[in-house]
Amino acid sequence: MKRRMESYGKMVQLLFMNPVFFIGISLLLVFIMTSMVLILTGAPPFSVYKQIFLGSLSTGSKFGHVIKAWIPLTLCAIGLLYTFRINLWNIGVEGQMIIGAVFCTFIIRLFPNSPYPIMILFLAFFSSMMGGALWALLAGFLKTKGGVNEIFAGLGLNFVAQGLILWLIFGPWKRPGVASMSGTEIIPKGLWLSLIERTAIPPAGLILTFLALFVTYLLLKYTKIGLGLKAIGLNPKASLLFGLKPSLYMLLAMVFGGGLAGFAGCIQVTGVYHRLIPSISSNYGYLALLVVMLSNYDIRLVPIVSFFFSCLNVGSIQLPMVLHIDSSLSGVIQGSLVLTFLALHALHRRLSTPKEIQPS
């Protein structure tokens, strides 16, 4: 295996060094893989891709729904950039979103019909961030103090959050008489995020997401926090000697990640479902991990990739409706896309020679 690679190395290398080719080949590979799956299951590949495309971008309202999905997904992905930077697998995003949504709903239930909805909304945003951050912090402490691998801490807390939200929906916050998965009472219209004319796009969410993108970019690139996170992520032991406190930075990263996730949860409540439902997190927590991996932990790619994923998610609704194919196909496509990318990127890394070292 190794030897063969080395011999082909040179030739393939030249090709791989060229990014356009690189992206092209990975897309092609994924295309082939998914098409194979489709053909095996007796579905017509091309009409599938066509439907997904039409279903996500053909009309304004559809595009709106894509953006509606893009906002929370991107927020979660941005949050993950912090934790990945310090080499933490924050798998608890789902739970952090849920808690954010719960806090948001809590505030709204406190002041159902206040004269100043804007203020309440801001309060809700803020508290949801706090909530998400808090939940992430728990996972952080389990990691730093409790010595539980963050993956399992996150998972555990996801389950707990799941239990909590169910308890609220079936218990204290249930609708009179009924206890059902359909969630709590609808929140007052006044507190719904206002949408752009006949689309599902909440401008507020859009703006704040872009803000988060920008701030994170600066924070990670130009501040000691960014550098510290990276150093600790790469070698915690040595970072001590540079006067960094790994556990502190870990908690910090978790707080940032959790805060953004919590905010995403709040958007789901005020902008999408207008109530608290058990699956308020909509799987964005897990999807975001794929997004970040596929964008190779590079914040400049995150919004693009997550837009692509949102298109897949929204577009895939057409599959059952038009072609009577199950829409979990979108998940298959997303997964295999990331896998192929990982593989190709690894090849890329192995074929590129180690940096030359000359005395300056």
């Binding site: 998965m181 609808i186 909509s282 409706m321």
Partner: protein
């Protein structure tokens, strides 16, 4: 598609269209419409619940179907009420039908939304009756979904049917009949969210209950009963919702109460085509002459292979008596679980009273509402 030739209607199914239960019944009703109203065409999407389709909302799907030319949209789950009302308000020129809701009754819903429901109460009474005729231990269990008015009244009907058989046909002491409900939390199993129906049914059988009546959309009850039967246990199950639910579980299946939505759909849709659909709240009864008539009866009960002849004969009599009104089970004196009066002696419940069933009845074990 040009609206004048073909009339497109959309169907939002809460579960899988092949769930052998509630959603499949609706799906097949849709097919029934397509063949009886030649110019009609069905659009459908199944698994419309946030667990299966994260991030997808009812209004979003409605938008999509309307873009595809749908002019009437049917939502088949109580849980869709908010979404469907939201959608109906957004598209006043499109007709919406919400199955099993009460928006039209309470006036919450806009004018272009109607409700339709079948009187499954009767079906459930027959189920309860069959169960009581069959049980040896006198312990009947009900595998309940989530707790709301609808599920409460269905469970209660089951109990009334069972009690009638127990006291008036078998002439046994009321105290010897045990009827317990266990709510799993949703219409089907969601791991880590609902109780696991497989486990619940299993432990019912393990603790002496020998008939389990399923109130949920999926077939765990029959499957587990089958397994127990393979292990030489004398147990029975009564599935729910779907004509052919007994297939494959014939050894244990006492029969199945089911909805037959076809006729009501045809009726509503043809009205819409003519453009004279008024907002209404329908609660449709079986056709007592022939409860299993696919074109006229809205609710039916198909006897299962495991039902004994005696029981079967008694059941026929029970059905005809209900048809003639000789037997009226929603008749006082009946008390709620907490002892408060549901029906005074000889009082016969009106629709509203039945529809908004507040609690289970005294004599039934299980939660009436979430504490």
């Amino acid at each position: 598609a040009q609206p004048d030739q073909t009339f497109t209607f959309g169907l939002l199914l809460v579960g899988p269209m092949n769930d052998h239960g509630w959603s499949q019944a609706h799906f097949e009703a849709g097919k029934y419409v397509e063949e009886h109203l030649k110019s009609s065409k069905m659009l459908y999407i199944d698994k419309v619940n946030p667990a299966d389709r994260p991030g997808i909302t009812i209004p979003q799907l409605a938008d999509d179907m309307i873009e595809k030319g749908a002019r009437l949209i049917i939502a088949n789950s109580d849980d869709m009420s908010d979404g469907i009302i939201e959608a109906a308000t957004m598209h006043p020129d499109i007709y919406f039908i919400h199955v099993s809701g009460d928006g039209a009754l309470t006036g919450k819903a806009p004018k272009n939304l109607s409700n339709v429901m079948g009187r499954m109460e009767y079906g459930k009474m027959m189920a309860g009756f069959a169960a009581a005729m069959t049980t040896k231990t006198g312990k009947i269990a009900y595998l309940g979904p989530l707790i709301n008015d609808e599920t409460r009244r269905l469970t209660v009907s089951c109990y009334l049917g069972a009690r009638y058989a127990w006291e008036h046909v078998l002439k046994r002491k009321p105290s010897e009949l045990q009827f317990e409900v266990s709510w799993i939390g949703f219409w089907f199993n969601i791991p880590g969210v609902t109780s696991d129906p497989t486990q619940v049914t299993g432990s019912f059988f393990n603790s002496g209950y020998d008939v389990v009546i399923s109130g949920i959309d999926t077939s765990e009850a029959s499957i587990v009963a089958n397994q127990k039967r393979m292990a030489k246990k004398d147990v029975y199950a009564i599935p729910y919702d779907y004509k052919n639910a007994c297939d494959g579980a014939s050894a244990v299946c006492l029969g199945v109460p089911y909805y037959n939505w076809g006729p009501s759909y045809v009726d509503l849709i043809s009205q819409t085509m003519k453009g004279n659909l008024k907002q209404q709240w329908l609660w449709l009864s079986p056709n007592w002459q022939d409860i299993n008539n696919p074109d006229t009866s809205h609710v039916g009960f198909i006897k299962g292979p495991a039902l004994s002849d005696i029981a079967s004969k008694a059941l026929d009599l029970f059905i005809s008596d209900m048809g003639t009104g000789k037997i009226q089970l929603f008749k006082g004196p009946l008390n709620y679980q907490d002892g408060s009066v549901f029906l005074a002696p000889d009082e016969v419940a009106n629709d509203k009273k039945i529809w908004y069933m507040e609690q289970l009845l005294s004599g039934m074990k299980g939660q009436s509402r979430v504490q």
